[in-house]
Symmetry: C2
Subunit: 195 residues, 2 copies
DNA sequence: TTATAATACGGAGGAAGCCTCCACTTGACA
DNA sequence: TGTCAAGTGGAGGCTTCCTCCGTATTATAA
């Protein structure tokens, strides 16, 4: 729903040592449980596994999305980094293909994350910012090269990732369909039906 | 989640008069509240507005999805009917475009319906069956005409409708983007980038 | 009609989650 | 070592879900 909370910009006053430790306990408990039971796992269960009170969890991560963004932070950073690194070797279209496939695969890491990935990705963590910036960059590059339709927006990327991730959730066996679905979209956004 | 419940096939033993009346009271209360407050409205509130007990509501509609499918029944029937009727006047691609746009618009009728439309549409009501059959028909027609890629499935239609509807919910201003997003998808599933 | 059996009703109540609030504890720093 | 801002935790209030079962109503057979 909302997404204006969970500001994780670096104007933060630096955590006290114990708080920092708890933050990390919460993050690894959350990571475990999201993997085991999906993004909808009761937050009380996360707090319990982390060995902290529920109040502590909520103070640090005011929303579930903030916690999801935090546990995804490193994956997002590395995804953006990888994308930037391989960029010179690929055509604009192939770079976008790789980006979308990885983002979709990533979103399928936690069951039930799909529907909220659009919100999560706006949480303002370094990872979220990096991945968003990289997406914009790839899109712009593709459009400047004249191979991507001008009316495509970055939001379209997110919609596609959402659709694909939902598909993955409904049919676990279809991991291989990520490529197929990205393909359809790419075929759609190309200026000419190249492929 | 599950979707095996809520069988609405006509092997039902016919409702008693009072039960039939209550069923209708529930349906109109639900329709009102879904419109006012979205598909996530508390079912107890629906029961209250209908003037029946919560137990009665659950006996008639074992899941929220069953209730959603029931309130959508007539819209689905008419959507399928309309699609069938205009079919001869349109190319296969345009018929699919119209179908997807209307289904997406329809799904945006109730706020928060998007995420579960895939489940709702499998509930087995006459409307659900009609709309599913029509989608399969359109897809097959397009593929036989050679204008739609062979590797596209009906599930792809549902994923796209889901993603578009989620997009609508996240960004109220983008009602007009339905056409754009359907367009990208269609451009993608065409054998050649026709358009 | 009336009796009776199958249907249906309704809402109390237990379970689960969410999130806030605040009395108490602890770390940082002078 | 004293001070106090920062941090803690979990009780408790709230919402929603859904089941269960004693009571009530309808259909039908006699």
């Amino acid at each position: 729903m909302t997404s204006e909370r969970g500001k994780k910009l670096s104007d933060e006053p630096a955590l006290r040592a114990d708080a920092q430790k708890n933050r990390e306990l919460i993050l690894s408990a959350a990571e475990e449980l999201f993997l085991e039971k999906g993004a909808g796992v009761p937050l009380e269960e996360v707090a319990k596994r982390a060995g902290v009170g529920i109040g502590t969890l909520y103070r640090r991560f005011p929303t579930r999305e903030a916690l999801l963004a935090a546990t995804s932070n490193e994956r997002f950073l590395s995804l953006a980094e990888t994308s930037r690194a391989r960029d010179p070797d690929l055509t604009p279209g192939d770079a976008i293909r790789a980006y979308l496939e990885e983002l979709a695969r990533n979103t399928s890491t936690y069951q039930s994350l799909a529907a909220s990935i659009g919100t999560v990705i706006q949480c303002g963590t370094p990872g979220c910012n990096a991945i968003t910036a990289e997406g914009h960059r790839l899109l712009q590059r593709g459009q400047e090269a004249g191979t991507i339709r001008r009316d495509v927006t970055y939001e379209d990327f997110i919609y596609v990732v959402t659709a694909i991730s939902i598909a993955m959730e409904n049919d676990r066996s279809s991991k291989s369909r990520i490529g197929h679905l990205v393909d359809l979209f790419l075929n759609g956004i190309n200026v000419k039906g190249s492929e």
